[in-house]
Amino acid sequence: MKTKRRTFLAGVSSAAVLSASGSAFAQKKYSEGASDTEIKIGNTNPYSGPASAYGVIGKTIAAYWKSVNEAGGINGRKVNFITLDDGYNPAKTVECIRQLVEQDKVLCTFNTLGTPCNTAIHKYMNQKKVPMLFVATGASKWGNPKEFPWTMGFQPDYHTEAVIYAKHILANVKDAKIGVLMQNDDYGKDYYEGMREGLGKEVGRIVKHVTYEVTDPTVDSQVIQLKDSGANVFFNISTPKFAAQAMRKAADIGWKPAQYLNNVSSSVASVMKPAGFDNVQGVLTAAYLMDPTDHQWDDNADMKEWKEWMGKHNAGASLADASNVFAYSVSTLMHETLKKCGDNLTRENLMKQAANFQKFRLKMALPGITVSTSPTDFYPVQAVQLQRFKGDTWDLFGDVMHAEST
């Protein structure tokens, strides 16, 4: 209730500021894709193909806009959310995006998913001057307003997260010898490069670097190799299934390094529990959103609101899947951005509003983590907090870290 009132107040006061700031706002202004009755938003998601597990994100976002429309829309306008299946194939993404921009004439795209897919449309969107907001990828290249003023990221980038782990290792582990398990794709590489950069001169501390493919059945042999290398730190860059396997295997063969697990795989239900709670005590990770399976948030107002929303508008979707939290959270940010635009729904104003958040309290973000953007800062969420696994839940410690991306 408290947070609700606060956002309400913030909304009212920002509306007051807007209406006070001159007559320019009194007139309704539209770009393509917006009108008195409708705002068209485009999106691509992999509903089929190798990455179709991410498809739940698109479905939850669609459910979010449906619930917004049922509640009356945004400033009286319904959101027309058009989401297309690109099968995680960048060539197909280009086709879909051209359809959305040129045929369907959307105002902007929102949360298009996948690093290669977004790379394929990056230049096009900026040439066309169509906002490409809050893309769903953790690569570090999305916040570059000088060269790409129409593209904005959302989540803390993988690179920065890895730098934070590296600094923590150097400060806390004596005589660290680091073994890295990495998924062999863009996401894995981003983390690995971040780790190398964070270590700086100490980069020689990485004694072993092994990779796996998404299609591999297990990572057992990789973990054995890491143990044999004599590493006493284990940096685990893997997606949920493999993260659980790796930590279980490490315990099985009696390897007890200091473990750093990437945020991608921090779900209690789908990673820590299958790995075995006994095996994962003391594992470290960084987080920015609340984990729905973590019982410490059971009484949190945001979490209760989310669970209620899920039951009402997204029934059938998993309450344990962190992707549903992500989709909901990023949608609320888009919602707020559109609300701030008022009746001036031009593409220029949309980018201006997106780049104008001051300590906005994002739904489902960890306490203390807020969204701040500016015309030179296109990284909305930049803070993470370290947490350590204890008992059957994550235990937050230390301060919220604000890392400027490199």
Partner: protein, 349 residues
């Protein structure tokens, strides 16, 4: 399969060249997006044409044509990215490169027949995206990040926009390749290729160098598909390993079977078909759900599958074959029974 009537071919070609010029008159019908879509159809048609030369006219099956497509695309992309080569100069090099790769792959494939060849080419399709990510090649291929390119510029100050130019570029390439393929098939070599398909042992006995023909056909087929890949690199202006997964091979195969195995015109129809259905399947599934009010949550691929099954049931010889027999049986009703008998015989052989 009979050849496509020449008169119609010229009319279609004239239409294909004229339609983009109508853009100032009908900006909504002939939009840039549609032209781009037709360009991707043309590219798909070239790739299917390549596969048809191998499978339809030489009887060798391949599930690995996405690999040749990838090699073509990456050859073009690397040449443009590293050597600043103009996009049109990359096509012949991509073709030669793919011919060599296809020829070399054709050598061990000589020992493999039918299902075994399918499996070997399947492995090729699976391995190429992995090889593109390999760390020793990363400086060249950009690894998983891929290579970002620029779109082809309009030359000679022609009054066209990028998409119109891309369309004409792809169209001219396709017409040239189609013409070349038709000539190959009409020659001694073409008859040898088809003889090997129809009766391998008889062809061998007649003195045809079956090993040579099979490997060279593999090379030519790969070159065609590689050119399509190189064109797609220019059209999409981006290459990444994820664009060339195994499913692409299956799409070529779908285009081949739906258009008509062993028909040049069928390849073009097949290429158009798969891009068209691939794009409209999702629209159709939302239409079924929202507008018809049926509570089926059909995925786009379910719709795609249903369309395929229906088509195969109604036109087992592909669209071109189906239309041909339809026209024939309408002209002479008596021939209908004979046509069906022939159809049955061909389908069972």
């Amino acid at each position: 399969m009979p050849a496509f009537p020449k008169k119609w071919l010229w009319i279609l070609l004239a239409l294909a060249f004229l339609v983009p010029l109508l853009q100032p008159l009908l900006p909504d019908v002939v939009s840039n997006y549609r032209l781009f879509l037709v360009s991707t159809m043309i590219i798909a048609a070239i790739a299917v044409l390549g596969l048809n030369l191998l499978t339809g006219f030489n009887g060798q099956i391949s599930l690995g044509h996405s690999a040749f497509y990838a090699v073509g695309a990456y050859t073009a992309a690397i040449l443009m990215d590293k050597l600043d080569m103009p996009y049109y100069a990359t096509l012949p090099i991509a073709a030669v490169m793919c011919f060599i790769v296809g020829y070399l792959f054709g050598l061990p494939a000589l020992k493999l027949e039918g299902h075994y060849l399918a499996l070997a080419t399947f492995a090729l399709a699976l391995s190429v995206p992995q090889i593109l990510k390999y760390k020793w090649l990363e400086d060249l291929t950009g690894g998983v990040q891929g290579i970002v390119l620029s779109k082809p510029d309009v030359p000679f100050g022609l009054p066209l926009n990028e998409d119109q130019w891309l369309y004409y570029y792809c169209l001219v390439v396709m017409v040239l390749l189609y013409w070349a393929a038709a000539n190959i098939l009409n020659s001694r070599s073409g008859r040898a290729m088809m003889a090997i398909r129809d009766q391998y042992m008889a062809a061998d006995t007649m003195g045809i160098d079956t090993a040579l023909y099979k490997t060279v056909t593999f090379g030519i087929s790969a070159a065609y598909t590689g050119i399509a890949g190189a064109l797609s690199a220019s059209a999409i202006a981006f290459v990444a390993p994820d664009s060339f997964n195994f499913f692409l091979s299956i799409k070529f195969l779908i285009g081949l079977v739906v258009g008509g195995v062993g028909s040049l015109a069928g390849s073009v129809v097949g290429g158009i078909f798969y891009v068209l259905v691939d794009n409209s399947a999702q629209a159709l599934s939302t239409f079924v759900k929202n507008d018809l009010g049926l509570q089926f949550d059909l995925s786009a691929y379910t719709v795609f599958g249903i369309i395929l099954i229906v088509l195969m049931y109604l036109m087992p010889m592909g669209i071109v074959g189906g239309v041909y027999y339809l026209v024939r049986s309408m002209r002479s009703p008596g021939a209908k029974a004979r046509e069906q008998a022939a159809l049955k015989q061909r389908a069972s052989s």
